[in-house]
Every structure is written in C-alpha cells, then in structure tokens.
C-alpha cells in the first residue's frame, strides 16, 4: 500500500480515530465540515503530533508512536496545499513558488517552473507580494508552491475551492498527471462530487473523526448505500479506448464492443481512458429507444435495484462496456416493471459525459500530460 | 608619558585649567576621569588604571589607604572648602548663621535643599553644621536632599527651594542665587579634598604632576574656583 494511515488524537470536543490503507494514486478524503479532514492531513504532515498512530508512505515510516519514530515535517518531503493559503507575506510570488525548491535535494525530480506558472495562470503575478492578490490568485500560488517543492507526498486540502470552473478544469488534469506520470501519492480533501469522481483512485469518507467507508473510487461511488456527497455523486467508471475523432467535434470511444460518444478529447486513438457516468445522468428504457437526441445507448442486464427511504432507486446494469448505474425514481421503476435479470437500455447523453468526468486512466504514464488536456 | 587622574567631578573646572597649562609646559599628557568620589574609589579598589586620586571625601581615601592602595606617605589634604547658605534670587537679605538663626521661619513652608545628608559629603557637612548649631531637629523635616550639591543648588536656582546649603565654590558662579550666610568653619568637620599617589605603578610624570598640583600655578587655578588651597 502506498499510503498507510493510522491516527488517533483527541481535542477537547473532537476525537479523530482514523485508519486506512490506500494504493498508489489519489486518495480523496471527504466528509462534512468539521469531520476531521484537515486534522488528519495535519497528522500526516507532522503538524499535529497525534497521541497514537503510524503513517507510512511507500513503506517509508513518517512516524510510529509505537516505535517512537517521528520525522519532523521538514524531513517528510511534502507538498502541502493548505486550506487557508499560508503564503509567505514577505516574499514575492516567485520567491514563494521557489521556496520549497531551496530545500529539496538537488536530484529530486522537479516540476518545470514555467509550466506550473502557465498552468496556474500566475505569470503576471510573479513580482507581486501575496498581500494584494485576489482569493483565487493566492490559492493558485499556494498550489504552485506545493507542486514545485519536488514532494514525495502531496497533501491538498480543498485546493480548488476558491477557483472558478474554468480554472479548475485547467488544473485538474495536472493532478491527474501527477497521479499517473509522476506517481506521487496524493492525499486530497474535496467537497466536490465532480472532483472526487474524477481524481480519486481511493475514496475515504470521514464522519465525526471516523472512517465510515474507504475503498477504490469506482466501488465506493458505485455503492448506492454510500452517497456521502449527495445523490449526485453515485456513478460508474468505465474503461474505454479512444477510437477516432470525428469532424463534428466528438470523439468516439470503444468499450467492450460498444461505442460511446463524448465531446472531443485530446488523446491519440488507441489511448486508454476512464469514463465516469454519473447515475443521475442515465435514463433507462425497456426498448431500444429511437429518435432520441442521446447518442449513447448501452444495452445490459439489470443486476440489482436498490431503493432507500427517498423517492429514488439505484439500478445497476451490466453492459458489455461494464457496470452502469442509473438513478431513477421508484415510481418509474415500478411503472416500467424493472426486475433484476431483465434486459434494459441505459441512455446517456453524450454531453453528460462532460470533460470533468473523463480522466486519464491509471497506468498510462506519459501518454497524456496537462499540456494536452 | 601619560598620567591618569581620578578626580571628584566638582573639580572639573580647576582640573581643566591645570591640566591644560601642565601639558603645555611639561610635554606629558594628563587625562582626568571625573565622577563621584565613591564611584572612583570603588573603581580604584577594582584595579582602575589610575595614577592619582583626588577625592572630595576623606572617608573614601581612608578606605583606600586602609586597603594599602595608596603610595605610602603620598596622601595630602590638597584643598579645603566652606559651606554657605544660599537663597533664591539676587537680592536676598543676609543672615547671620549661628544658634539663633530661625531657619524654620526663614523657610516658611519652603524646603531647604541639601545634598544627601547621610552619604554625600556636602550633605554630611551641612547636617553636622546644623546639628552643631542646634538647628537640625527643627529643620530636618523641611530638608530636600539631592544626589549632589549641584542638584541641590539647581533647586534653589529655579526657586523650588528658597534656601539651600552648598559649597562656597558652587554658590559663586550661579547668578540666580545669593549667598545669604556662611557657616562658621568650626561648625562642621573641616571640608577636605585629599590627594594621593596610587600604589599601582610609578612614573616620573606622576610625581611631577603631583608636585605641580601643589604648586603656585595650580593654587591659582583652585583659588579661582573658590577653593582654599591647603598644601604647602
């Protein structure tokens, strides 16, 4: 396991007692405000000395209260993007960005300064001091500072919260690239369903200081019993390969013999991709529908229908492309007479497979970089 | 050669003149460190690089002598001084200082400015004189003590205190005060400024300057400042 976290710590009115193991990739920590996310990240960073616990990254023990081992933060080779910026007010933006580099070992793999600056759109700010930057500008500089520190472990506490959608869409692929190409383990706190769905290799849900669910993203998000991010987070992840780019701006993907159409992707034909299809974006049809504007129609067999207290039901459908989840009303499920074992069609609007929900799959290092996203 | 003299600060003017003329005629250089006698004495105790000490207070010289820090036989009483009663203003009526002086009436609700009566020589002499005249008891509550004579004089000069007891040497040059009366010389122990050669190292210049201090030119300078020269 890349990231092994066991932490117990008590504040007067709050106790954190969290354990999880995560494989390489991005581990997204989520949970409601006050559930202990920042506290957990601080413990991993060494800013909080927990009463008890052990944290290891790629087998490298950062601390172990049992073995009385404690690496101070500056030996942990971190890139920590704080929830509140924490830029150095006396340094200009450039110096803030370069700060971690002064202390990184010479031979550490370094992110390219210019590239990070371009990505974050902070080129014009380099000679300014943080005091008069806008909220989002500060946050972007903070991201850059962490990325440029040549970290062996990246901690990101809601790094994108202050950014506009367009900027987020530009920065997200960079985290994916870190995950895939540079293979840095990343602990990422997020409230956003789209971010979680897109980035997470592993999802860890916290509630009042305890881990309520931890596991591979696809599994946790596809589990109708877990909708910690709101109903909108449920969804399924399909593995697909880029087939061709059509002139009308659409890209065709192949998945298990089925063809899926999404807005143009910047990936060469043959590239393996991960597509996320949110459960609430899927309509079910008993018959193969005709004359619909939706381009993606995936036939499959109903595996399971779960309904909770609310009016909704979550239907799992096994298709040739993989498992697809559909969130429909109980009323529809009844009206359509849906039962496990029945054949059914999942109708997905191509535009519902939005850029946010398409990410480079794991293990495709070097094929896609942020520059091409 | 250089001679270092530790001298009571009240000798500044005289020493300035003496040193200037001595240097001109002897070719030796003399540096004078001016501070309170107590500080200078303590410094000498702690090995200060002084060759000659002129104290405003025989007690400190006694101490050094007892500790063997003085060149045997070098101690002399160099100068004498007298005490005066000064009054604020330029036209104060003269008074006769004797057992009959009604000092409290003179003061009214004003203060009598003196140097610290138990620790600073001018204050000690002043208190002794008042006690001798039988005036101390009644005037004691009205005494304002300063850390040195000059501060006491300043109180009279500014009019904060209508009267003060200071050295004759100090009173003369301050034109905001009048000397109202002089204390009889026998009303207090003699006011003496002893000088001595210190027992650390010796040089010809040191001897030379000691001699010069007791000579005619020095005498003139001291007398110009109002001191009585005792050495002969």
């Amino acid at each position: 396991m890349t990231l092994s976290v066991h932490v117990k710590h008590s504040f007067p009115a709050f106790t954190l007692d969290a354990s999880f193991e995560a494989p390489p990739g991005i581990t997204v920590l989520f949970g409601r405000s006050g559930s202990g996310k920042t506290t957990l990240v601080n413990a991993v960073a060494g800013l909080l000395r927990p009463e008890q616990g052990r944290v290891a990254v790629n087998g490298w023990e950062l601390f172990d209260t049992g073995a009385r081992r404690w690496l101070p933060p500056h030996k942990r080779r971190l890139g920590y993007i704080f929830q509140e910026g924490r830029l150095f007010p006396h340094l200009n933006v450039r110096q803030n960005l370069m700060y971690g580099r002064w202390f990184a070992p010479r031979d550490a793999p370094r992110a390219e300064f210019g590239r990070v600056v371009d990505l974050l759109g902070i080129g014009a700010l380099l000679d300014r001091r943080p005091g008069a930057l806008s909220g989002g500008e500060k946050q972007r500089v903070a991201i850059g500072r962490a990325l440029l520190a040549a970290p062996r472990l990246l901690l990101a506490d809601e790094p994108l919260a202050a950014l506009d959608e367009a900027r987020k869409a530009e920065i997200l692929p960079y985290f994916e690239r870190l995950r895939d190409e540079v293979a840095i383990p990343i602990l990422f706190v997020s409230h956003s369903a789209a971010e979680v769905a897109r980035l997470a290799t592993t999802v860890v849900a916290l509630e009042a200081g305890r881990v309520t669910r931890a596991g591979p993203a696809a599994e946790v998000l596809a589990d109708p019993a877990v909708t910690p991010l709101g109903a909108r987070a449920a969804g399924a992840v399909l593995e697909a390969v880029v087939l061709r780019h059509a002139e009308d701006g659409l890209t065709e993907l192949g998945a298990g013999g089925l063809t899926l159409v999404v807005p143009r992707l910047d990936a060469a034909p043959g590239t393996a991709m991960r597509l996320r299809i949110a459960a609430h974006d899927v309509i079910l049809s008993r018959e193969a529908p005709v004359g619909l504007s939706a381009l993606n129609i995936l036939p499959g067999t109903i595996q399971d229908i779960r309904s909770g207290d609310g009016p909704g039901a979550l239907v799992s459908l096994d298709t040739a492309a993989g498992r697809v989840l559909a969130r429909i009303t109980r009323r529809s499920a009844q009206a359509m007479g849906l039962e496990p074992g029945q054949v059914c069609h999942a109708v997905v609007k191509s535009v519902a497979v939005a850029p946010d929900d398409v990410g480079g799959g794991p293990g495709m290092s070097g094929l896609r970089g942020p520059g091409s996203a | 050669e250089q001679v270092t003299v530790f001298a009571a600060a009240s000798l500044k003017n005289a020493m300035d003149d003496i040193v200037a003329s001595y240097q001109a005629q002897s070719g030796h250089s003399v540096v004078v460190s001016l501070a309170g006698s107590s500080a200078l004495a303590k410094q000498i105790q702690q090995g200060a690089p002084a060759d000659i000490f002129i104290s405003a207070n025989p007690d400190w010289m006694d101490l050094l002598e007892a500790e063997g820090l003085l060149e045997d036989g070098s101690r002399r009483d160099l100068l004498g001084n007298s005490l005066v009663l000064v009054a604020h203003g330029t036209d104060a009526a003269p008074v006769t200082i004797g057992p009959d002086l009604d000092l409290p009436a003179l003061l009214g609700d004003g203060r009598l400015a003196m140097a610290l009566v138990d620790s600073v020589p001018a204050g000690i002499y002043g208190k002794a004189a008042l006690e001798h005249l039988g005036l101390w008891q009644e005037v004691a509550p009205s005494v304002a003590q300063s850390d040195n004579v000059r501060a006491a004089l300043a109180l009279v000069a500014t009019g904060e205190a209508p009267f003060g007891i200071v050295y004759a040497t100090d009173a003369g040059a301050e034109d905001r005060v009048t000397v109202a009366g002089r204390f009889p010389a026998d009303s207090h122990p003699p006011i003496l400024y002893p000088v001595a050669d210190l027992a650390n190292r010796d040089s010809a210049a040191e001897e030379d300057f000691l001699t010069y201090l007791q000579g005619a030119e020095a005498r003139a300078a001291f007398e110009a400042q109002g001191f009585t020269v005792l050495a002969d």
């Binding site: 800013l47 006396h90 700060y99 | 003017n13 702690q46």
Partner: protein, 230 residues
C-alpha cells in the same frame, strides 16, 4: 562641528561607537534570547527573563557596580577575559558592554513581541516545504520580525546613547576611552558655569538620536510594507 571642541567631538564619536557596537552586538543575542523566551519552555525560563530585565529594575549605578565587580580586572569574568586578551574595564569596550546591557531588555522586549506576533502557521508551512527549524527561522521568522528588530534596535541605540549611570560606575569617565556624551554632560553639570556647555552637548545628543530615529522610522516603514506583503 566647529563649535564643538576636540574633546566634545571625541565624546560624541565615542558615544556613537559605543552605542553602535552595543546595539549591533546586542541584537543577535537579543534575537536569540527573545526567541527562547517567546517560543521555548525550559527550566530557568523565569530566571532568564528576570536576568534580562535586571538592568532596567536596578538603579544604573548598581548595575554599573555589579559590572565592575564582575568584569573588572579583579572580577571573576574580567580576570578570565583578560587572560584571553580582552580587557573591558576602563576601555570603550567596557562602555559598550555597559550600554549594551542597559539596552538589552529593550531589545529583547521589542523583538519578543514581534516574535509572538508571527503566525506559527507560516512557520509550519515553511517546515512542510523542507525548511529545517534553523532555515524556517532565517527565511520566515527573521524577515517577519524585522520591524521589531528595527524598533528594538532604535530603542536600544537611544538608550545606549543616553546611558550614563552604569557606564560611569563601571568604566569611569576617561577622556577618549570612556567619556561618552552623557558622562561629559554630567561632568559639565557638576561645576559652576558648566550648564551652557552641557546644553550644547545635550543638543548634539538629541540631534544624533533624532537622526537615528528618523532613519529607523524610514527603514521600519519600508520593512513593514515589505512584511505586510504589498
């Protein structure tokens, strides 16, 4: 400085030298002590704090006397230093020591206040970026407390320029060696007719200190703007 005699010029220059050295040498130590007092808990914390404030509490004459007893040629420390060839007693170096010690509590307080105002979160952030405690101090804490160092420095410099009681008691009042401006002023005040000369020197002292003050205000404002991050 035509109207200043050579002795007076000498006293002025000596005062400047003494005060500058006292401040410059005192500052690094003051930063260290202030940091220790502000950030560390250790046995003897209260004692150190008390010791630092001592020169403020004691009448200067007492401080001077204690210095004389300790650093004089016969004193325990003075004797050792003398073996090493460092003589403080009755030298300008001793005057600098006295001025430095008298100014020390002022340096420490100002710097300590600044250190306590530094957000530890920034220091933590520097730590996560790989800076060791020393580097955090040098690259984050130190620049952020510069206003306090400037403020403490000017306060200390002013105090050193005005220091008299401890200096004259410790190193006496030897022209060219230990006769600083305040000692010279004192000497003038001890004799009839010296007032005018004393006040001339007071004016000189005030002018110098005002110049230093203006300079420090200017530096302080620049530094503050820098630190405020604008």
């Amino acid at each position: 400085m035509d109207w200043l005699g050579p002795e007076e010029t000498q006293a002025l220059l000596l005062s400047l030298r003494v005060s500058l050295w006292a401040t410059l040498l005192g500052l690094p130590l003051a930063v260290f002590v202030a940091y220790a007092l502000a950030r560390w808990r250790f046995p003897g914390h209260a004692l150190l704090n008390g010791l630092v404030h001592l020169p403020l509490i004691l009448p200067p004459v007492v401080t001077g006397y204690l210095l004389l007893l300790t650093f004089g040629t016969k004193g325990p420390v003075g004797a050792v230093l003398q073996d090493w060839g460092i003589v403080l007693a009755f030298r300008w170096t001793g005057a600098a020591l006295a001025a430095g010690i008298m100014a020390f509590p002022l340096l420490v307080r100002a710097i300590r206040l600044s250190i306590e105002a530094v957000d530890p979160k920034l220091e933590q952030a520097a730590g996560t970026l790989g800076a060791s405690r020393l580097m955090v101090f040098l690259t984050v804490t130190l620049p952020l407390i510069l206003p306090g160092i400037v403020a403490g420095g000017i306060l200390g410099f002013a105090k050193a320029m005005g220091e008299f009681g401890a200096t004259i008691t410790f190193v006496s009042n030897i022209p060219g060696q230990t006769r600083t401006l305040p000692s010279a002023i004192y000497a003038f005040l001890q004799v009839p007719g010296g007032d005018a000369a004393a006040f001339r020197l007071v004016l000189v002292a005030v002018a110098v200190a005002m110049a230093a003050l203006l300079l420090s205000e200017w530096v302080g404002r620049r530094v503050a703007r820098r630190v405020a991050g604008q």
